[in-house]
């Protein structure tokens, strides 16, 4: 019967059903065959959504949306450009730097690529960068968003497993930094080769002025991170504090947030949150069926039969997640696969926090690869460049992501050092 569950799910998935409904219908087919009352469907759906920690998702989405509506994106871009604009290919480096800062207020890659891309891609094209490269840099660097805290995938992992979200946030910080450094190096080398433009060095005064503009977004990241790590706030409380902070900064400091805008921002937030939560609800039902059918144990046993070597097993899991990530949305894939694979990984002694970073990293790589690279689609429509050309220009950046993935896989220190330093 478990075969029926997977068969129905994959057929509906390929047909283009919303993933939440593909999960629901496959579960209903299973329950009907197993002669289980369908009352369990709403019961598990509600149970999946009714968790206090999940309230942080609309909180962080709302805070990020308010900051963007307040014109924060322009300030971040301006600040990053003032710092690195005088280096060869400076605007591409600024793009990556801005992504890092923006990651601290948004937590999703698509928001990052859409808001930064709409400013930076036209600006880069205007300065003489080739459009393929401009799109590829934007698309690649936007994947730093779901790794650097606050991170939506990490919140989902925390809600699925009960792992400390503070620890998960910290665990992603260093790999996120490594990604950014790697992207910057590659970008610089390409810029040297292609002789990309160089801007004049900004004066200290201009840099200082620009820093003040972007300062408040940096404070927001620190407020969230240290509020959670210091035990001052729970993740949900931190997200709401971030919302209040964003409203205050947008209305009193920047004086650019209008009530009319706020209403649109609220509508966007409930829409994004609801589509995600329906998925969370039905994934909870799907996960419950997998557990009663002992699928995680069977999969763990099957993989252990292939190899019981920890490193080979991690490589195998990496391959599975990389393939899944190329065609499935990050959070959906996490909801379905993470609890199963975590059991396999922990059985060979992998730290759950390290495994969470590894899983998220694997899945976000798929945001930049065909056939379903969401960030690729966003930047290609902004830059008016065919997706395949952006994907080709993004290959060096993809290589960086894979190197960082291997580092996270084989050097647990990278993901475990900061949580150990601050929270153990």
């Amino acid at each position: 019967m478990i075969g029926l569950l997977f068969l129905v799910f994959f057929v509906l998935l390929l047909m283009g059903f919303p993933i939440a409904y593909a999960l629901a219908i496959s579960c209903i087919s299973y329950l009907l065959m197993a002669d289980v009352s369908l009352v369990v469907v709403p019961l598990k759906m509600y149970g999946g959504m009714d968790a206090f920690v999940l309230l942080s998702i609309p909180g962080f989405i709302l805070a990020g949306n308010i900051m963007s509506a307040s014109g924060m994106t322009d300030r971040i871009v301006d600040f990053s450009n003032k710092i690195v604009g005088h280096i060869r290919g400076g605007l591409s480096l600024a793009n990556i730097g801005a992504s890092m800062i923006f990651a601290g207020i948004s937590g999703t890659a698509v928001a990052d690529s859409a808001s930064l891309g709409s400013i930076l891609i036209p600006a880069m094209k205007k300065e003489g960068y080739d459009a393929d490269f401009a799109c590829a840099v934007t698309s690649s660097s936007s994947t730093i968003g779901p790794i650097i805290p606050p991170s939506m995938p990490m919140i989902i992992v925390g809600s699925l497993t009960g792992l400390s979200i503070g620890k998960l946030f910290l665990a992603g910080a260093l790999p996120g930094l490594l990604l950014a450094i790697g992207y910057m190096l590659v970008s610089y080398m390409i810029s040297l080769k292609k002789q990309h433009p160089i801007s004049s060095r900004a004066s200290l005064r201009a840099m200082g002025k620009s820093f003040v503009g972007a300062f408040w977004s940096l404070v927001m990241t620190l407020l969230i991170l240290f509020g959670i790590i210091g035990g001052v706030f729970t993740p949900t409380e931190a997200s709401v504090v971030a919302v209040l902070y964003a409203v205050l900064i947008g209305s009193l400091v920047y004086r650019s947030l209008r009530w009319r805008q706020l209403l649109d921002v609220l509508k966007n937030t409930v829409s994004t949150t609801s589509s995600l939560m329906l998925l969370v609800g039905f994934a909870n039902l799907f996960g419950w069926i997998l557990i009663i059918e002992e699928v995680p144990q069977a999969l763990a046993g099957g993989l252990m039969e292939v190899t019981s070597n920890k490193w080979l097993l991690l490589i195998l899991i990496n391959l599975v997640l990389l393939i899944v990530g190329t065609f499935m949305e990050t959070l959906a894939a996490l909801l379905i696969l993470f609890p199963i694979l975590l059991q396999v990984a922990t059985s060979v002694g992998v730290d759950p926090i390290q495994f969470a970073v590894l899983a998220v990293l694997n899945l976000i790589i798929g945001l930049n690869t065909p056939p379903v690279g969401v960030c690729l689609f966003v930047v290609s429509s902004i830059g008016k460049v065919p997706v395949d050309r952006v994907a080709r220009a993004g290959l060096p950046f993809l290589l960086v992501s894979l190197v960082v993935l291997l580092m996270v896989t084989f050097v647990p220190f990278i993901s475990l050092w900061l949580p150990g330093l601050f929270m153990d």
Binding site: M45, Y46, V240, K267, V270, T273, S275
Partner: protein, 157 residues
């Protein structure tokens, strides 16, 4: 389609109000921890109720904007008319499944009628009813899409 517009505005307003309610209640929780000798215990329960209702009503906007996450892999290889037919079938199935789940959510709500929330003491049926609301709204907004545009994207009533 005046009726549709009224329902859409009501659903959006309810979703936004629930979200704002959630933010206010959690803010009270944070402020009370610093300003009062002890933080109130009811805030977590109430904020969760606001949250599930913001999701329940917000699903209307998500369906309306076609924001439900899905794969569009196969669409690239099929003809336009076949994709249109597939979308129509898909939407009809989504409506049917939503109604089936809403129907089975009714006994779930009844279970909640005899269960009280630990702190607020409200009947849990009020919170569980959000599972009926979310499915009815998802079904209704999908139906509107079918009526407006059986297979294609774009036009709204």
């Amino acid at each position: 389609m005046r009726g549709y517009r009224v329902i859409r505005q009501f659903v959006e307003l309810a979703a936004v109000t629930s979200l704002v309610g959630m933010v206010i209640v959690v803010s009270i929780q944070v402020l009370a921890r610093f300003a009062l000798p002890s933080a109130p215990a009811w805030t977590e329960e109430l904020s969760r109720v606001f949250f599930v209702y913001s999701v329940a009503f917000g699903i209307g906007a998500a369906v309306d904007r076609d924001e439900l996450v899905r794969l569009s892999l196969l669409e690239n290889y099929l003809s336009q008319s076949l994709v249109g037919h597939l979308k129509l079938i898909m939407r009809l199935v989504v409506i049917a499944v939503s109604l089936v789940i809403a129907r089975y959510a009714l006994p779930f709500v009844q279970i909640g009628h005899v269960e009280l929330s630990p702190v607020l003491g409200i009947r849990m049926s009020w919170a569980f009813a959000s599972s009926v609301v979310v499915m009815l709204i998802a079904g209704y907004f999908t139906l509107v899409r079918v009526m407006a545009d059986p297979g294609e994207e774009g036009r709204k009533p």
